[in-house]
């Protein structure tokens, strides 16, 4: 895989350090262009929201990676992705945490080599190193096959965002502190009944996980360049392998989902409806301690329960990246879990800082 070359000519790397006082360097992993795919897609999405770039695929734009601010330790706090098409340029900053999957990749190698500390804990940071001569010719191997794209271009239907905002309300979350969103995310509106349908889909598995996809449309505001999402339906993942701690969509699941979507496009005259996210249930309570207690010491006085299973796991992130990682950065992931108090709890995740981050949602009231 092709390593990332920064604009200063150096190769972007992630260093793993011991958590001990000496902060010993445990290992170094080169960041590849593939590692930045989600960050690139997110940059494209944000560019579209302010009227920059266009609806071509994110891979069609020129990508540059700029080094971020260097701290006293010599590591970078962040790095910057820039997309351009010769006319427009858009930059977005990403933190160290966006490269956690790269750190995990090196950690897996260290674990196998038994050179990771006993508890498996480490810190990681971003650095850059002089480009090696070995990397200079390390482009992607050319495909022997001739490839022709038949992908339909992205269609952004036009609609007045102010009407959607006026006809909707925030989806309440009674089990957690209200989320602060200093940089408002791409607005998402659930059509009437869909939020409830998604809940039913997540809980259908009983004690096992179950799930489905969310379908809808991407829209562009008539009065601004902002883009937003309507979630119009929830399609259950039939033929899935549902277990206590996982749900796997089979080839048949996906075929059935696409068949239902084709039907909706034709019968409801929604040619631009597409899969825009997924929902699944973590249908289990937070784990109990050795005394069988799930709640924390301040449970009786705390307003909100601090323990929940409505949390996106590493598997959930990997699945989301696999399904939506090919240029669909608007996709959302809805997870229903339980708090330690046994309350239904939800989190809606979207792509931010190249990872899944919890966000708010709105539902249309009419």
């Amino acid at each position: 895989m092709k390593p990332v070359t920064l604009t200063n000519g150096e190769t972007l790397t992630v260093d793993l350090y011991s958590k001990a006082e000496d902060a010993k360097l445990l290992g170094r992993e080169t960041v590849t262009v593939g590692d930045l795919a989600l960050a690139r897609d997110e940059t494209w999405r944000e560019a579209l929201r302010v009227g920059k770039l266009d609806e071509r695929e994110p891979g069609d734009f020129a990508l540059r990676v700029l080094p971020g601010k260097v701290t006293k330790s010599g590591r970078m706090e962040d790095y910057i992705l820039e997309l351009s098409d010769g006319n427009d340029v858009y930059q977005r900053r990403f933190t160290t945490y966006s490269l956690a999957p790269v750190a995990r990749r090196r950690a897996a190698v260290l674990l196998e080599a038994e050179t990771l500390p006993e508890d498996g804990a480490y810190h990681f940071g971003i650095t850059s190193v002089p480009r090696s001569t070995r990397d200079q010719g390390n482009g992607e191997p050319k495909s022997a096959a001739k490839v022709i794209s038949h992908t339909e271009p992205l269609v952004l239907e036009e609609a007045p965002l102010h009407k959607f905002l006026a006809n909707s309300e925030p989806v309440p979350c009674e089990t957690a502190e209200p989320l602060e969103e200093p940089q408002p995310p791409l607005p998402v509106f659930f059509a009437p009944g869909v939020w409830e349908a998604a809940f039913e889909c997540a809980r259908r598995g009983g004690e096992n996980e179950s799930g489905g996809v969310l379908t809808g449309r991407l829209l562009r505001d008539t009065a601004s360049p902002e883009i937003f999402l309507t979630v119009d339906a929830c399609i259950e993942a039939e033929f899935a392998d549902e277990q206590k701690l996982s749900v796997t969509f089979s080839g048949e699941s996906w075929a059935k989902i696409r068949e239902v979507l084709r039907f909706r496009r034709k019968r409801m005259n929604r040619p631009n409806e597409r899969i825009v996210g997924a929902v699944h249930g973590h249908n289990f309570l937070p784990s109990a301690d050795k005394n069988g207690v799930r709640t924390c010491e301040v449970c009786t006085v705390a307003k909100y329960c601090s323990r929940t299973t409505a949390v996106a796991s590493t598997d959930d992130f990997q699945w989301h990246a696999s399904v939506f990682g090919g240029g669909q950065p608007w996709a959302v992931s809805l997870i229903w879990g339980f708090t330690a108090r046994g309350q239904d709890d939800w989190r809606l995740y979207h792509l931010n800082d190249a990872t899944l981050e919890a966000r708010t949602a709105r539902r249309l009231v009419r």
Binding site: D35, E140, H150, V247, F249, R258, R274, W319
Partner: protein, 94 residues
């Protein structure tokens, strides 16, 4: 009495296929695929051509026969020319 084995199906080579991602939002046509290549190997290549993450394993489903393909057998032994394949992630929610 010895077992009678059915002869292996002939391998079609080269192949032209159509491949799409599970969301149906990307579709590519590939000509000149080596039909002797194992399905697992071709799946990774198709994922790459669809700009899907290469750090996960992928499987292939032939939409005409509605079957998942055997990773360890040659692609050209399991599909017909102009097959429509779906590239499916080998990952789960959990």
């Amino acid at each position: 009495m010895g077992a009678v084995h059915a002869p292996a199906k002939p391998v079609i080579d080269p192949l032209r296929v159509f491949a799409e991602d599970v969301t149906g939002s990307k579709l590519i046509e590939l000509e000149g695929i080596d039909g002797h290549r194992k399905v697992s190997d071709v799946a990774q290549s198709l994922a790459g051509e669809l700009n899907l993450p290469m750090n996960s394993p992928w499987a292939l489903r032939d939409e005409k026969s509605a079957r998942m393909l055997d990773d360890d057998l040659p692609l050209g032994q399991q599909i017909e020319q102009d097959a429509r394949l779906t590239v499916i992630p080998r990952s789960h929610l959990g």
